[in-house]
Symmetry: C2
Subunit: 252 residues, 2 copies
């Protein structure tokens, strides 16, 4: 068996998230459907770096799967892109050591969150940004509040309540804001993220940006380890899984 690693991009708008769910359109189900065709009906399981929720996008999600076939990785890529729906694209496929695991080998991830602060949101951006109804936040305040998040903390306060993960200590390596025209991007990188963590951070910092929460409150929220103290979970369509980092893997 060979192990192949693929980097994929998807428009999450019309998906019920990454993971297979009976009766739902999911990214994993589409990938496995195509693999089953390539493998004459055999089930080939796809493992991702982690799940993404309904409507959440990815420009650099990473998956692996094992195959008995010997066709070259670039032919796999072409076959995927011919047979997949156009809202999922496979950007690269490469053979990796069987020690590589799309989820367990992750050393870090980068996410992006986008708000559209135009007075009237472009119709072309309705599924790809969160509309602020023309509100322009104080980004300096958001950036200052973000300093409390950077570093290693127990992030229970930024984790959706319905999670089974026990250890909620994670390291946020960087968290910065950028304007792209009238769209505000939050770019966050870390060694791992809890369920809904990026969206809850976005929702909390947004409240700082519009003056509904003090800059100094964010350190306090982290210290309480209480989800109830943080802000709302920001909507899914603003979120992009941009890159998954792995330690250097020797090619096979």
């Amino acid at each position: 068996m060979r192990r192949l690693k693929a980097v994929i991009s998807y428009d999450g708008t019309q998906f019920s998230g990454f993971q297979v769910q009976p009766g739902e359109r999911t990214i994993q189900a589409e990938l496995e459907r195509v693999l089953a065709v390539m493998h004459k009906g055999e089930n080939i399981k796809v493992t991702a770096s982690g799940r993404t929720d309904a409507k959440v996008h990815a420009t650099g999600q990473t998956v692996h799967f094992d195959t008995p076939l010997t066709i070259p990785p670039e032919k796999y890529m072409k076959a995927f892109n011919v047979q997949l729906p156009k809202d999922i694209r496979v950007l690269t496929v490469e053979e990796v050591s069987t020690d590589f695991h799309a989820r367990y080998s992750v050393s870090g991830k980068r996410y992006r969150y986008i708000w559209c602060c135009e007075p009237v949101q472009s119709p072309f951006r309705r599924y790809y940004t969160v509309e602020t109804n023309g509100i322009v936040p104080n980004v300096n305040a958001m950036q200052e509040a973000a300093q409390a998040i950077i570093g290693t903390h127990d992030f229970s306060c930024f984790c959706a309540a319905n999670t089974s993960v026990k250890d909620k200590v994670r390291t946020v390596a960087s968290l910065k804001f950028e304007w792209h025209g009238q769209e505000l991007h939050m770019i966050i990188e870390g060694n791992g993220f809890l369920y809904n963590m990026v969206r809850i951070i976005a929702g909390t910092l947004w409240e700082v940006g519009i003056g509904r929460r003090d800059i100094t409150n964010v350190a306090h929220v982290i210290a309480t380890m209480d989800r109830g103290q943080a802000g709302k979970t920001a909507p899914p369509q603003g979120l992009y899984l941009e890159k998954v980092f792995y330690p250097e893997v020797a090619d096979v």
Copy 2:
């Protein structure tokens, strides 16, 4: 009665074009549905600068309508944007003289046509660009061929066969190409455009760009006045109506 002029933007993906058609989702029908609500059921007709086809986009379509109501234009704009679906947005509303006519007063239009030349088309661009499967055309050749189009000509060769318009003389004021990353934009401005004219020009110049048609052939095609001599009609999702020009209109 007051006359109001509105500039609107729409994502054409989920519309059967601008004009009302029974049983179809159209931009005109959505605008008139909202106006009927505002006018307690009265039918208010919306007139556009011209139609756009199914899947064709607009970032600056212009319309007018007459109303007996005296509510201020900016309140109209808000009411539209609250009640319209998010794939149509009203960017401006202003009161104009009743001499103004969204179609008959047009002095010019600007369209944009976008090809995505990335090796793998981004899933986020599938409804908004035309995929070239990684083919990168010779833009210098396209620009050189375009010189034959600029100016005043009988453009019968670039007009869909099923049209009732008799006078096919139009003036193309400018036609230029620009790279935006790996996306190629064709921007064309003129005093008026025949049915499918921009898409047939795009399809013809594309053939020049990939070496399937000589640069010098384009002047010949125009001279024949024969639609059969020109290239294919390029797909609708690459096309944007970007701006409609009017002679300076005195505000009321």
